[in-house]
């Protein structure tokens, strides 16, 4: 059984995101353990990209900080390898297609396997284009995480049926970032998925506070939080382990309350 499945065995999953190398690779490594200790079920590690078109300003700024600090894809592979020696928590990379494609799909996925990454999320690789990497992902045992959005409608069937690991359900139009309210009818989206597949559904985009975590977890299998965490890291920098840990704890609890 893949490690990703285990993320959904401990009540509603809480899935935090952080940008690898923000503010530096050592802090990222420390934060991964802090998140795990405070109840994270799966951790998304962002491989920074110069032009992250699906991200709002908070994660854009994190990518810029990481890249200007000199972090590279190879540094992240090495970091994950060190982390993997001490933990079995499911880890997935979230990045854009060019850092993967340019590195070489085969080489990138072989390194994922070697360092202990379990899945990969590529927001600018839609279902129609994904077959150029899907086979290689299978070969190396890396789950390619599909995404559905509020606009997907009749596309949900194909996407849900080919989903691996979990399905990333985008809660809102637009880009990542904290939102006051989530207006999409996510319940209907997820019911539609359920009619085609029993893949775990995690909701992301716009979730920042315990109230939202509780509401979203109630209609899904887990919640994903990125910008709200990256904002804490931006504020506290090298001292962010404490505040990030507390936040993760409160969100995991809220999701299961």
């Amino acid at each position: 059984m893949s490690r990703i499945k285990k993320a959904f065995e401990n009540g509603k999953a809480f899935i935090p995101f952080l940008t690898g190398g923000d503010p530096d690779i050592g802090i990222t490594e420390k934060l991964i353990f802090e998140m795990e200790a405070n109840g994270a079920d799966l951790i998304e590690i962002g491989v920074p990209f110069s032009d992250p078109i699906a991200e709002g300003v908070v994660i854009q700024a994190a990518d810029e900080r990481a890249l200007s600090g000199g972090v590279t894809t190879d540094d992240l592979f090495a970091m994950v390898k060190r982390v993997r020696e001490k933990t079995q928590i499911p880890l997935v990379f979230m990045t854009y297609y060019n850092p993967v494609f340019s590195y070489g799909n085969e080489k990138f996925l072989a390194n994922c396997k070697d360092c202990g990454i379990d899945g990969i999320i590529i927001p600018d690789l839609p279902f129609e284009e994904s077959d150029e990497i899907r086979g290689t992902c299978k070969e190396y045992g890396i789950d390619l995480i599909n995404m559905i959005a509020p606009t997907s409608e009749e596309r949900i069937e194909r996407i849900a049926k080919s989903a691996e690991g979990f399905l990333y359900c985008v809660s809102s139009l637009g880009v990542t970032g904290v939102r006051e309210t989530i207006t999409t009818n996510v319940t209907a989206m997820i019911e539609k998925v359920r009619s085609y597949s029993d893949i775990p559904c995690a909701i992301g985009f716009g979730i920042s506070n315990p109230k939202q975590a509780k509401e979203m977890a109630a209609v899904s299998d887990g919640v994903i939080v990125g910008s709200a965490i990256v904002r804490i890291i931006a504020e506290h920098g090298k001292e962010s382990a404490g505040p990030v840990g507390e936040y993760v704890k409160s969100m995991k609890e809220a999701a299961n309350s």
């Binding site: 032009d51 078109i53 850092p99 340019s102 590195y103 600018d124 606009t151 637009g174």
Partner: protein, 395 residues
């Protein structure tokens, strides 16, 4: 699985899931418009009465004599309304937006030419318009910002990333992903996800079609070479497309080499780029070994783009077209040369094509014919060229 919008291995639709349905909506609307005689008649009327098409094919006699080789004709896209070829595309796309029932258009712009053209078409057709432009570009092209505002558009100065054209595209894509119900993203070049490279090429191919007809009338034959500048590549694709099947016609794209294709400061994608996926398309991009997109440089804000349209990448791959790097120095000299020699001040983008014509013409016989597309007029560049020459002019 169905692969849409491929030019050989290039092209495709590499965008977030959120945008996939609206791309399909645009594609379907475009296919319907192509077959709709009413749409075509309306577009042709706008081309003729509003944009002043057909643009002239002008025999540059003094330039021809001076260079002493092939006969040179200039395709005068600079004479179009709004001063560049960009109007051809925006009239088509904004008309399409209207047919789709959209009430708002958004667009990216570098130098401001596409932004001005989009704002113009939106004003004409009564649509709301918002333009995304890198903060650095809004500073260096302040006059165009005011021009867009005068036309009723709202201009957003993009402060993310490197604050230039590629970042303006990023921001326009983000905006579109948040609001597509009433909004069409009017892409300015033969780039981005399918169907845009095809749509923009189709709206620009009138350039080459006219060249063919006009030259046939004047000379009774095809040109030996067609030269155009390339950033994303819309005026070049528009100039080339009609001739792709005429193998005897040499097609030459001139890309911006900035301070030199072998220096760190350039935007020569064919010379220095490698295969990648960015802004919705698989094509060639200037990037580092980890796939981070490079910051590129050219004196020309319109050619200052780290990629190239996928159809150009294919024409390069198959050898059907050649792409040559032209430096800032060569472009500025050509800018001054055409001004003095023919009394035509070209856009600094177009000056890249003029620069290569100056190299090529003397190597060809007097019985040969070169057509150079002057994609835009140079009024917008006068102050910048003056500064380049050490003369301080305030716009």
């Amino acid at each position: 699985m169905e692969k849409k919008g491929r030019f050989g291995q290039f092209g495709g639709q590499y965008v977030p899931e959120t945008l996939m349905p609206v791309l399909k909506e645009v594609e379907e609307a475009y296919l319907a418009a192509q077959k709709d005689p009413e749409f075509q008649a309306e577009l042709n009327r706008l081309y003729s009465e509003y944009a002043d098409r057909p643009s002239r094919l002008y025999y540059a006699e003094k330039m021809t004599m001076d260079l002493g080789g092939a006969k040179i004709y200039l395709k005068r896209e600079d004479l179009n309304h709004t001063g560049s070829h960009k109007i051809n595309n925006v009239l088509g796309q904004v008309l399409l937006a209207k047919k789709m029932g959209k009430t708002r258009v958004i667009a990216e712009t570098g130098a401001g030419q596409h932004g001005v053209a989009t704002a113009t078409a939106a004003a004409l057709m009564g649509l709301e318009c918002e333009i995304f432009m890198g903060k650095i570009d809004t500073d260096r092209q302040a006059l165009n910002v005011y021009r867009m505002e005068l036309l009723g558009a709202k201009v957003h100065a993009v402060t993310s990333g490197t604050q230039v054209l590629k970042d303006a595209v990023n921001e326009a894509m983000r905006e579109w992903a948040g609001r597509m119900d009433d909004t069409l993203y009017v892409l300015g070049s033969v780039m981005g996800p399918h169907p845009f490279p095809t749509i923009v090429r189709d709206f620009q191919k009138i350039i080459g079609k006219e060249i063919k007809e006009q030259l046939k009338e004047k000379e009774g034959r095809l040109p030996d070479a067609v030269i155009a500048c390339v950033g994303g590549g819309s005026n070049a694709m528009g100039s080339f497309y009609e001739f792709v099947g005429d193998k005897e016609v040499q097609l030459i794209g001139c890309e911006a080499a900035g301070e030199g294709a072998d220096t760190p400061r350039n935007a020569a994608t064919i010379a220095n780029g490698r295969l990648g996926v960015f802004h919705g398309m698989k094509s060639l991009f200037c990037q580092n070994k980890y796939g981070q997109i490079d910051e590129v440089y050219s004196i020309s804000a319109g050619l200052d783009y780290p990629g190239i349209g996928p159809e150009h990448a294919m024409l390069h791959d198959t050898g059907r077209a050649q792409y040559v790097p032209i430096t800032d120095v060569e472009a500025v000299e050509a800018f001054e040369y055409l001004s003095r020699t023919e009394g035509i001040i070209p856009a600094v983008e177009s000056a890249h094509a003029i620069a290569y014509a100056r190299k090529l013409a003397p190597t060809m016989g007097k019985d040969k014919i070169i057509v150079v597309t002057v994609s835009g007029r140079g009024d917008k560049d006068v102050a910048a060229i003056a500064r380049y020459r050490g003369v301080q002019i305030y716009e």
